[in-house]
């Protein structure tokens, strides 16, 4: 069926070209011009690179392990709550995602140091620094990042269909508990867990800010060194190839996997019947929240010093906060609006090449996308205006996270409903009234929520922003990242608090705006 906006394949193709343009430009402009040099460039995969790759894989394994574990614990708590209180937990679970992982890492570093040396010559516990040694390892990195990324597993589990009450009740009639788990619960959890595991694992492979704070030599650090120290874009691109080789076939195969990720509709998931189980699940949930929100918050507050200092830092950094928010929200809104427009052409069929391309852009390190846009910007003759710098930064943000906009678009159209769209196609209205009369009333709430979620991802970006924005015009995340290395401790902690609280407040405001049930 030809629906509204379905035309314009040319425009959609053009957008795809713009999105992959930075990578293409980077490859073409930096690739070796002779065959010998081409073969030589593969030597970038030396012993050091492979050792760092192994460290990254170990780190990603521990991150996935902890994140899935924490996600399952909180999902257990979610199943212990009544359907009315569940949405509140859903919003609360977004808070750990809203905080840049390197901020959480710095908070944990402060926490462990305080635990070991509370000050005034006293030693509270662990004189031998065992906790520090654990923290400054792949296990510690996995722990910190697991505490930041578990909401991905939790959210995918809550979005998936089941296990529902009727299914569990039917299972209780004729199955043992183990059989019920194997035949009812596990099939419902399998795909969200596999998907979440894959996403978290790849996010773990891409991590370099947290490992660098923990003094871990990881693979993305090698890529970053190629860009910033050796100025070899081509080598950096070659080092990114392992990501693409694994991720793109996965994107191709995922939609075809049996029992794919079905989005929950209708009956709410099962609620634990046993009050003991409910209490245990809720206690576990509270513990996960305490570890992932309260510990970083309390550490930073304690370290930030007096309220007057915190207030001074806040007022001094207000322009940076506003600028950072503006960039993140503008790019996120762009991602969601473009993604919604882009996916409006897809009724039920999705050519796997499109999500595979977008996934490739998402899993490529941000610095690579940033370097590509930097290369494009360098073609600008003369002095580059500030607006151009801001535009390339926004373009880089959109390029890197367009996969999220694509996903949001598919979810939004799914929410709107295919039959509604078919009915709309019978109406004799132009595109603008159609958006104003029908789409906006139905989609502004989920659209705003999606925008805030994408904003959270962009809020903590360091790699692209460092490359694309001139010094002095940094975002709050970049400022904080720099101060972590050479800033005063209490001032850094105050900025860390801002970095944590601003997205949390934005999240709360957005969800309060959209919470009013209209239908």
């Amino acid at each position: 069926m030809k629906q509204r906006f379905q035309g314009g394949w040319f425009l959609r193709g053009a957008l795809m070209i713009v999105l992959i343009l930075p990578v293409l430009v980077l490859v073409v402009s930096s690739g070796p011009d002779k065959a010998g040099a081409f073969w030589n460039s593969w030597r970038v995969f030396d012993r050091y690179a492979l050792e760092r790759l192994v460290t990254s894989i170990q780190l990603a394994f521990w991150i996935t392990f902890f994140a899935l574990g924490f996600g399952l614990i909180v999902y257990g708590g979610y199943c212990g709550l009544s359907p009315k209180t569940r949405p509140f937990l859903g919003v609360l679970a977004l808070l750990p995602l809203s905080y840049p992982p390197f901020g959480a890492a710095s908070a944990w570093m402060i926490f462990i140091t305080r635990l070991e040396h509370p000050g005034e010559g006293r030693i509270l516990w662990d004189a031998h620094g065992t906790l520090s040694r654990i923290l400054y390892s792949v296990f510690g990195g996995g722990w910190i990042l697991g505490l930041c990324l578990w909401p991905i597993a939790f959210l995918l589990l809550t979005m998936a269909a089941g296990p529902q009450r009727s299914q569990m009740e039917a299972a209780q009639l004729g199955m043992s508990r183990w059989s019920a788990f194997r035949k009812v619960v596990w099939p419902a959890w399998r795909m969200p867990l596999i998907t979440a595991g894959a996403v978290i694992f790849y996010l773990g492979l891409l991590q370099f800010e947290v490992p660098s704070l923990l003094q871990l030599q990881v693979y993305p650090l090698e890529i970053f060194i190629q860009f910033t120290a050796r100025f070899s874009d081509w080598s950096a691109f070659l080092l990114c190839l392992p990501y693409l080789l694994v991720v793109v076939p996965m994107a191709w195969g995922m939609p075809r996997a049996p029992g794919g990720l079905a989005i929950h509709a209708g009956e709410p998931p099962y609620r634990w019947q046993s009050s003991g189980l409910r209490a245990a699940a809720l206690a576990g949930t509270a513990l996960v929240f305490a570890l992932s929100i309260l510990v970083p918050l309390a550490s930073l507050m304690r370290h930030a010093g007096s309220v007057s200092l915190m207030w001074r830092v806040t007022t001094e950094h207000a322009p940076i906060v506003i600028r950072s928010l503006l960039y993140a929200i503008t790019a996120a809104a762009g991602v969601v609006i473009l993604g919604t427009w882009f996916t409006s052409a897809f009724n039920t069929k999705h050519h796997p090449l499109v999500p595979a391309c977008l996934l490739a852009l998402f899993v490529l390190p941000g610095v690579l996308i940033g370097a590509g846009w930097l290369q494009i910007r360098s073609y600008w003759p003369g002095v580059q205006p500030d607006a151009l710098m801001a535009a390339t930064l926004l373009a880089a943000y959109i390029t890197h996270t367009f996969l999220l906009g694509y996903g949001a678009g598919i979810l939004l159209w799914g929410y709107y409903g295919i039959r509604q769209r078919e009915f709309d196609s019978l109406l004799h209205v132009g595109a603008f009234p159609y958006v104003r009369w029908l789409l906006l009333p139905a989609l502004w709430r989920p659209g705003l929520q999606a925008t805030v979620l994408v904003m959270l991802v962009l809020w903590g970006d360091v790699g692209m922003t460092i490359l694309l924005y001139p010094p002095g015009g940094d975002t709050l995340a970049v400022e904080y990242y720099n101060l972590l290395h050479y800033g005063s401790e209490s001032r850094t902690a105050s900025i860390g608090l801002l970095l944590l609280l601003v997205p949390a407040l934005t999240l709360m405001v957005a969800f309060a705006l959209t919470a009013r049930a209209r239908s």
Binding site: M1, K2, G417, R419, Q420, E422, F423, S425, L426, L427, H428, V429, P433, W437, L438, P441, A442, R518, S519
Partner: protein
Amino acid sequence: MNRNKSFPASTIRIALEGISLRRGTRAVLREVNFEVPAGQITVLFGPSGVGKTTCLRLIAGFERPSAGVVKLGEEIVSSETQWVPPRNRRVGFCFQEDALWPALTAAEHIQIPLRTFMNNRDDIHRRTEDILNSMGLAAFADRYPAQLSGGEKRRLALARALAMEPAYLLLDEPLSSVEGPMREELIRRLRECRSEDRAILAVTHQLDEALALGDRLVILSGGRVVREGQLCEVVRNPLNRDAAQLVGYRNYFSGRLENGTLISPFGHWITNSAGVEKQIRLAAFPEDFRAWPDVQGEAIIQECRPSSRVYRVQAVCSTDCFEALAETMLETGQRARLRCVNPPAVLEDRPV
């Protein structure tokens, strides 16, 4: 097709000519031909999965046929070479799932189609009130779909479709999920929608719905039209076994036409086909057959169940199974005699 263009009532009709549709290797529709005239409700009837909704979607323009032509009035709107977009077809569509807009009130559901061709705000409000009143929804003008019952949602979906002032109204299972007095009410309102400048096509797989709603009946089976005509005519003379089965005939038997008399093991009837002599196949409703106990009877009772003031009987006669009514309770295995008390329908496609 332009909304402002006025059509003479005689040109308003839907015609499907030689429509075929393939999905992959599966043929969904095969050479489908039928017409939907204005002023009546035509019911497209058949079991689930035979392509009824697909026919509606082809007419609305949501899908394109693999072969054949869809005509609205005199204009070809879908063919291999021509295609008119749905918004230019003057079609109103009532989906089985209602497909209401969850973020809009009932009044807004009516106003939005009206705003596509009316400019004056007061006129739009007046017309909205009229439509909501006519559908008995005036009290629910400010409610959202989630705050309406199943029947109210269905009426709102119908009101929204009517607000588009369609020349062609397509109804997909309009009575499904609506029960009791609400159902009677909806049938009445749907029948009130008939007019000389509107062709209405409804789809259903329930015989009682088709009988309650329709003026004309088109029976679809296996992706083909097996019978088409005025409702009474189709029910009285299904002409073939597929159509007969679908409209409720349960008893099939052979007979002979001799000197203007129809002779069968279950009765003789005078017909107006004098001079014709041939073997024929006959069909009758269970209500046309009577059973009573007789030790010399040719039928053996298989089952007997009460049905209001009579009993409904299943019996085997020779090797055929028959359904009949009985005035007394009959025991399983009991011998009985069967008689057809009304003239049966003559099936033409299976000469014996």
